[in-house]
Symmetry: C2
Subunit: 247 residues, 2 copies
DNA sequence: ATGCGCAATATCCTATAGGATAGTGTCGCG
DNA sequence: CGCGACACTATCCTATAGGATATTGCGCAT
């Protein structure tokens, strides 16, 4: 699930720290601009510094954190309006292709070993279904990401899947600000895409994804203003002396 | 230059280790499948384990290394033929757009603070020029990467630039296998793209980039076979008892 | 001869301590 | 009253040591 997948086996402390910190960023417990103290986190999570360090290095590589060599890590700022538009433009190029490929491959395509577990196809409809109309926003966020990642994996192209997967790292805040009525629309569009893929209709799948992204972009645009405003004041609140610093 | 840019200031040991290890992978001193011992590297580079750990974590996030939780890091395998094709298909979507944008912005575009230093435009022609017809292959590799990254930065879209930048991580081996006559062709195509951007001709720049990628794909395809064969036997040689393990 | 189980080793993972550096607050001077 | 220099503190960076785990090699039974 993580972009940096720990294939299988034991969960090491570095993995736990990585998951925990990423979750906090997703939940907006760590607002953009907040400073992450390295041994502060170590004490707080009851880990040593080394696993924290490793987790922070990964998060920096993903673009969620910024590092200033002898000064510490800070949470990267929110997407600007221009970056937001660019992001959707890129998605609009990549994801419809992924949907088309997923449909083209058909139900009995050879399972790509490098990609997911192989049961993505069975999971497709499940992933398309959003958890609950009035459930936690975070669940919706996660479900949305999961569906798009599932389609990306089904495309059979590891490169494409990785590119798509890396894009949505910055969408968490905007997703969180989406309205409840949008959840139903999103689910319907997801189901349409899934249906086209299952029915092996490549062009329909591509078009459905394109439509979904276009509508999603409009939906998010409203949420974008709210998120920006909220984040701005949160960042302002974080500016004073170690306000939101991780204790 | 590195995808994980260390903004500015001091170079920490972790940065040095990161650069050194990445360089070794680029030079094929570390072949795919080779095992990277963590304290072996520490002794060899005369660092402690912690900075090595941090460097490895970053390289893993970039996709150059694979990690198995309690077993160590290994160099990721070379691109398969299918992945190679996919990679160029993605580049073909992203990079022409970047070239067009770079030309559209014109010479006096507001310098994007989040992006490079701002002197990319002045550097464009310099970057287009390949170092030497018969120079080291590694220099060509680096120059090629630099030119494409420069164009990506000039696009003004941070998201687009990051997406493009992340793609070329796996191209190093194939670039290294390119023939000397291809270097001249590459330079000519680069110069054409740069000229179109400088002349503020968006459509020409886009088309020039598309043409360059198409020709590049054909050129690389031949190199691909050679690289695959060589890498296969190298991986075979690395299979036996810790053959290429980092001492 | 082949497959299985056990022991030894190398390696990773984690914890703690010390040196170095950037940021902050205070004091004194112009 | 404003500004510069100094010292202090918090934090990062690096190094070393010990416990836990996977892998490897050997021996034995089938």
């Amino acid at each position: 699930m993580a972009a940096t997948s720990t294939s299988a086996g034991r969960r090491t402390l570095a993995d736990s720290a990585y998951t925990e910190l990423k979750s906090r960023i997703m939940r907006s417990e760590l607002v953009p601009g907040a400073k992450l103290s390295i041994d502060g986190l170590a004490k707080q999570l009851a880990f040593s510094q080394t696993p924290i360090r490793e987790a922070l290095a990964r998060l920096e590589s993903e673009g969620l954190l910024a590092r200033r060599p002898l000064s510490g890590y800070t949470v990267e700022p929110l997407l600007s309006a221009a970056e937001f538009a660019d992001l959707f433009e890129i998605r609009m190029m990549l994801e419809p292709l992924a949907a088309r490929r997923a449909a083209e491959r058909g139900p009995d395509a050879p399972p790509e070993p490098a990609l997911g577990n192989g049961d993505e196809r069975a999971d497709l409809l499940g992933a398309a279904r959003t958890p609950d109309p009035s459930a936690d926003k975070l669940l919706f966020t996660e479900a949305d990401r999961r569906f798009h990642n599932t389609v990306a994996d089904l495309s059979g192209s590891a490169q494409l899947a990785k590119s798509i997967r890396r894009l949505d790292a910055h969408l968490h805040l905007h997703r969180a600000y989406i309205g409840p009525e949008a959840i139903g629309e999103t689910e319907a569009e997801h189901l349409a895409i899934a249906a086209a893929i299952i029915a092996v209709k490549p062009l329909a799948a591509e078009e459905a994804m394109r439509l979904h992204l276009e509508r999603s972009r409009v939906r998010h645009r409203e949420a974008f203003a709210a998120a920006s405003a909220s984040a701005a004041q949160a960042a302002e609140a974080a500016r004073p002396r170690r306000a939101k610093a991780a204790r």
